[in-house]
Amino acid sequence: MITIKNKKNGQGLKRAVEEISGVDISVCFQCKKCSSGCPVAKLTRSRPSEIMRQLHLGAGNELLESDLVWMCASCETCSARCPMGIDVAAVIDALRKLALARGSSKQKGNVPLFNRAFLKTVETFGRSYEIGMITAYKIGTGKLMNDTEKFPAMLKKGKIALLPPRGGDRKTVRRIFKTVKQNKGAKA
């Protein structure tokens, strides 16, 4: 069953999601094809079609706490199969952006921290740097020894580079990050 707790500021969330994603939420007629094809729906409490319905009915910030928001693997099966051509994956991306902007609570695995760690290495070196990213992520989660048993084998096989990447056009990449940050500042 779908329950809506926070109808008052809910319209803001629907409008904000539509604005960010360019999707018209109201055209969804709940065929649930997105949920049927979603690879993580069997593991999450909320499903894509439910998120669509909740948005339509005026749900508010509590929707940003849905586990699907950060368990979605961005596989885009939902968008590819929607008979109404709704880009459901773009709706989830919009919810992520709102969750970050509105300071929603951290979820298992802390995907935003992982994304930040990844993008920080890109900003610094122009290309992603796994050891830098993994270290920053592990320090951030405080679980240093999680999933490290494969590390030696991967290093030995040369599947993880020891030194940071070189040769990337760092200047252009830094300019991009700077512009994006300024842009966000202007909007806020």
Binding site: V40, A73, S74, L119, V122, K150, V173, R175, I176, N183
Partner: protein, 290 residues
């Protein structure tokens, strides 16, 4: 045949084997690959989960470099391919996005650089007859489950790569190399992609069901063309076995590694030593001794 080859960040770490085998195969088939000088990260999943302008500008920085080379861009990593094509589409379709990118790059870009996946180059430019002719060591009926994952085929309206529900590009190549491509239901299922580190549990669950399907279909190996799929399926088999008590040992090979073997290139030059699940059954089948 000359292309600007964008290797992508994985080429320098987890997918060195993909990079190595791509270069070897290209050389053998007379495909001339030129790396754009100073290429940078496409932003990957972290980019588009974070900010739209970032997600479009990072690929655009590379597309403009290729524009100056007056060549088409060729990509092998499915994730980079996806981000490049989506960026092109967004820039061409939305003037506001193009304006944002202009500010970020200090240069205007119209989204017009043609982006090709290696599989498209092999199938459309080289062609299957030429590939069949170049095969020196056929796959001898090796049973291959071809796995496409997400980023090669979705979003279909923008990527226009093969059939999004039942693609056959890899299968056609495998058949041309003398292998048996298997019918199986997980071709375009998701492996969990970028969740490998933050949500290993989800990736183990998803890859577990894909490996299970390939095993049921009787696969000798799974052929991929995406570094994220390769790492997730290869690296996580140990975890799957630990959790389910099964003993899967299905090698996850890049299509370029298979093709390289068939073209007579030694397995050492194709990065076979870098696979976590050894592909000795594949090497035996083509009578190669590692």
């Amino acid at each position: 045949m000359r292309y600007a080859y964008y290797p992508g960040c994985s080429a320098e770490s987890t997918a060195r084997d993909m990079h190595q085998s791509t270069l070897a195969v290209a050389k053998a088939l007379g495909i001339d690959l030129v790396e754009p000088k100073g290429w940078t990260c496409c932003g990957a999943t972290a980019g588009h989960q974070t900010d739209r302008l970032l997600a479009v500008s990072l690929p655009a920085a590379n597309l403009t470099k290729v524009q100056d080379m007056k060549l088409d861009m060729m990509v092998n990593c499915a994730a980079c391919y996806n981000r490049m094509k989506v960026a092109n589409h967004e820039i061409a379709a939305h003037p506001a996005v193009r304006q944002g990118v202009r500010e970020a790059l200090d240069r205007d870009y119209d989204g017009s650089v043609k982006v090709r996946h290696l599989l498209e180059v092999l199938l459309e430019d080289v062609g299957l007859p030429a590939i069949t002719k170049a095969v020196k060591r056929p796959l001898n009926g090796l049973k291959v489950a071809c796995y496409y994952g997400c980023l090669l085929v979705r979003p279909p309206k923008i990527l226009k790569f093969d059939d999004p529900e039942n693609p056959t590009s890899l299968d056609r190549l495998v058949t041309a190399m003398g292998g048996t491509s298997l019918e199986w239901p997980s071709k375009v299922e998701c492996c969990g992609g970028g969740l490998s580190l933050p949500r290993t549990d989800v990736v183990v669950e998803l890859t577990g069901s894909i490996i299970d399907m390939a095993a049921s279909a009787g696969a000798d190996c799974i052929a991929v063309s995406c570094p994220m799929c390769q790492v997730n399926l290869d690296l996580r088999q140990q975890d799957i076995n630990k959790q389910t008590g099964k003993n899967y040992q299905i090698p996850i090979v890049y299509i370029t590694q298979l093709l390289g073997l068939c073209l007579g290139i030694g397995s050492g030059d194709l990065g076979f030593d870098k696979l976590m699940v050894p592909a000795s059954n594949v090497l035996e089948k083509v009578h190669e001794r590692a």
